[in-house]
Symmetry: C2
Subunit: 429 residues, 2 copies
């Protein structure tokens, strides 16, 4: 991709109304544009990050024998009446009527749609367990949307639903899915995400885990007890004591929820009349689990966890482009020619190539905002000696190498970065 063609504008100025660094940097870098409160359009750099995140999630869900399905965004109110949530959920559920006057809702989660899809299928114990998931747009009419992609009204989400004939089988799968989630967060560059047991709120069921990125920028308060080692959510009413051992000196952080998994029991299947015949011929309601990750929120969280004041430092696994090639003084023929050749060698598909005849300061600032993990800088002074600079976005690596060795140096740096993220501890059972 050539920078002169990249649609979107980049600015130095901190945009008004941005509290989170990730929000400000993604606005400054031309990743997204607000359409109205809590609703954004995305430019190419962000759709590329999101797509890589989605691919990683798909791989991990498929490894759990997940089957990708697709539920509607607009759902009949009748389906939500079956579960009782049409009445029980507040104004964050957007209700409307279609042209014929029928009650409709915009899906904020899809438990009802999942049960609807499989209740004809799951009629015999032999067909269990099974696990379906989708990646789809959702809408939650938040009263106070804020924080860029962290708390929005419209968002893309991976939501999965598993069905089981016993609580024990659900628990076994739930544990496998928890490990898959840990792999997902590690692979997108967030190994510090912490699974914390939590209330499941309006979703029903009893056991749930919230995956929390520990960051001062988050809006959830979590505690860590130095006495018993337990992580917990901090409710205002509880005070600051550890709920497990009662110690009164837990370490408090404000976190961002990046995923949530629930054991739902038979709340939805029972209410919606999903039944199967067990080994003895008896009719029973299956138990369910559900498993969510917000795609855009995860992208913003990666940025929140990995940036400096100049822009995002994208982990190699989710970066919109792997390499950023700057041709300094690109107006000079010799620089331009060498850069064009290098662009091909580096791989056009994964390289963002700045061939604009603008100042080096503008080029380097834009490279910081776009956050490719490796940068190649080619300028007239180095070129005179046949050299170029290869450096990492996080400033940890920097080498001056002959231009002929640029591609292999880039390859080595990218491979090292990949190993740092995916090298150890991510094995599947």
């Amino acid at each position: 991709m050539r920078m002169s063609k990249l649609v979107g504008t980049r600015t130095k100025e901190h945009p008004a109304g941005c509290v989170l660094d990730s929000h400000a940097l993604m606005m400054r870098g031309g990743y997204l544009k607000g359409v109205c409160a809590g609703i954004y359009s995305q430019f190419l750099p962000l759709t590329r990050v999101c797509r890589k995140i989605e691919d990683i999630i798909r791989e991990e869900m498929d490894a759990l024998e997940g089957q990708e399905v697709l539920f509607p965004v607009a759902l009949p109110g009748a389906l939500w009446r079956e579960s009782g949530r049409y009445e029980s959920v507040g104004n964050e559920l957007l209700r409307f009527r279609d042209r014929g006057g029928a009650e409709m809702v915009l899906g904020m989660t899809h438990e009802e749609a999942a049960v609807h899809l499989v209740r004809d299928y799951g009629v015999s114990y032999g067909r269990y367990p099974f696990f379906i998931y989708q990646i789809q747009t959702k809408f939650r009419d938040e009263a106070r949307a804020r924080g860029g992609l962290i708390r929005v009204r419209e968002f893309r989400m991976k939501d999965g639903y598993s069905f089981h004939t016993s609580q024990g089988d659900l628990e076994q799968f739930f544990a496998r899915c928890l490990r898959a989630y840990e792999r997902i967060f590690a692979r997108v560059g967030l190994p510090q995400v912490q699974a914390i047991a939590s209330d499941s709120g309006m979703m029903g069921g009893e056991v749930s885990y919230e995956f929390t990125l520990l960051t001062p920028a988050g809006e959830d308060s979590v505690g860590h007890c130095p006495c018993c080692g337990r992580w917990f959510h901090l409710e205002a009413a509880e005070g600051a004591a550890c709920p497990a051992c009662g110690a009164e000196n837990p370490v408090i952080s404000r976190g961002i929820e990046v995923g949530h998994i629930f054991q739902l029991g038979d709340k939805y299947t029972k209410a919606m009349g999903m039944r199967y015949t067990d080994e003895s011929g008896a009719s029973r309601a299956p138990v369910m689990g559900c498993y969510g990750i917000g795609i855009g929120r995860l992208a913003a969280s990666v940025c929140e966890a990995s940036h400096d004041s100049h822009g995002p430092i994208w982990p190699v696994t989710v970066a919109p482009w792997q390499v950023h090639l700057c041709a300094l003084r690109a107006g000079e023929g010799a620089v331009r020619e060498a850069a064009e050749r290098l662009y091909v060698l580096l791989g056009k598909g994964r390289t963002l190539y700045d061939e604009r005849d603008v100042s080096p300061g503008v080029q380097l600032a834009d490279a910081d905002l776009l956050g490719a993990p490796v940068r190649v800088v080619l300028g007239p002074r180095d070129l005179a000696e046949g050299l170029c600079q290869v450096e990492s976005r996080d400033r940890a690596r920097r080498e001056t190498v002959p231009i002929a060795q640029a591609a292999e140096t880039v390859e080595r740096m990218l491979a090292e970065m990949r190993r740092e993220i995916e090298g150890g501890g991510l094995e599947r059972e």
Copy 2:
């Protein structure tokens, strides 16, 4: 994928209310399930077909230097008021209010959102032309939804928007996009799709082409004049004469619209205040083109064009699985063992493996409904001689080969099929 794990049910019976073969076969094959009028959920076989179609479309759009973006499903009414369409479009535009009482719509096309996204960017002639596209869910509140995925209310669509500083530049890009569309339809297995000049209706602008799959099952009437060779849309009022040469003996078909591209002129940019500064310093409104393809409708159209009474005959480029492996009498240990080994050799990711202990009739009927282009049948009688059957879904190819040669026979058949589709005439300029 093992058939015993595939979520979804398959039936012999023609489902009630299905007029189109594609609708009936996709219901019978466990591809989709109706949620309410014109709104469906999709099972794995259909999400796999749609994903392959999307990948082909992405390749062709990226080859036009298209940049993938993402617009919201729910849009502020204010944006549609800017273009005038909030008032001018009928009830197929679903209007609602959010919790704060603000006017909203569900996007049925995204011209307004496209102009909103790029109007800060496209301020100087040097930034033109540019082309953005998205693949996203849309909603059109059809009064009479019918025909399975052919005429639905909620659908996924690729919609692209190009921006130019002159009508001539738009026309040049439009012609390139028209050829890209022809490649897309050929690559998904529909080379017979015909580009027909048409009215652009509520989209505005003057020139548009509709891409029509010629099939008796379609709902559009198109004519072909044997006298002057011209294709045209047949309006009821026109009678059956060719609008170009007046000949009164055109050949009439009912067709399915699978894509539509429009030259929009400055209708949206002017109304929404998008301006750029030209070479002379004057302020002007850019001209736009827009380019749509419905993903689900295209999947259904492929099925409509390529099926027999037993099920879809998926072209190799979009088939949910490339190979269907039937282990007849899978309850017998020797068959099961040989089949398990073959499953690995054929490639688990691209093979649907029927290891169920059900009758051969059920297995073969299900294989027909799932429509993989190549089938390998392993049964006790052939196995005793070390043989298996390798055959194509369209019944054109059938070979009895030693089991050790099954994988290479499959590979050869798939390669032949791929060459037949992608072999000639699809070169890009």
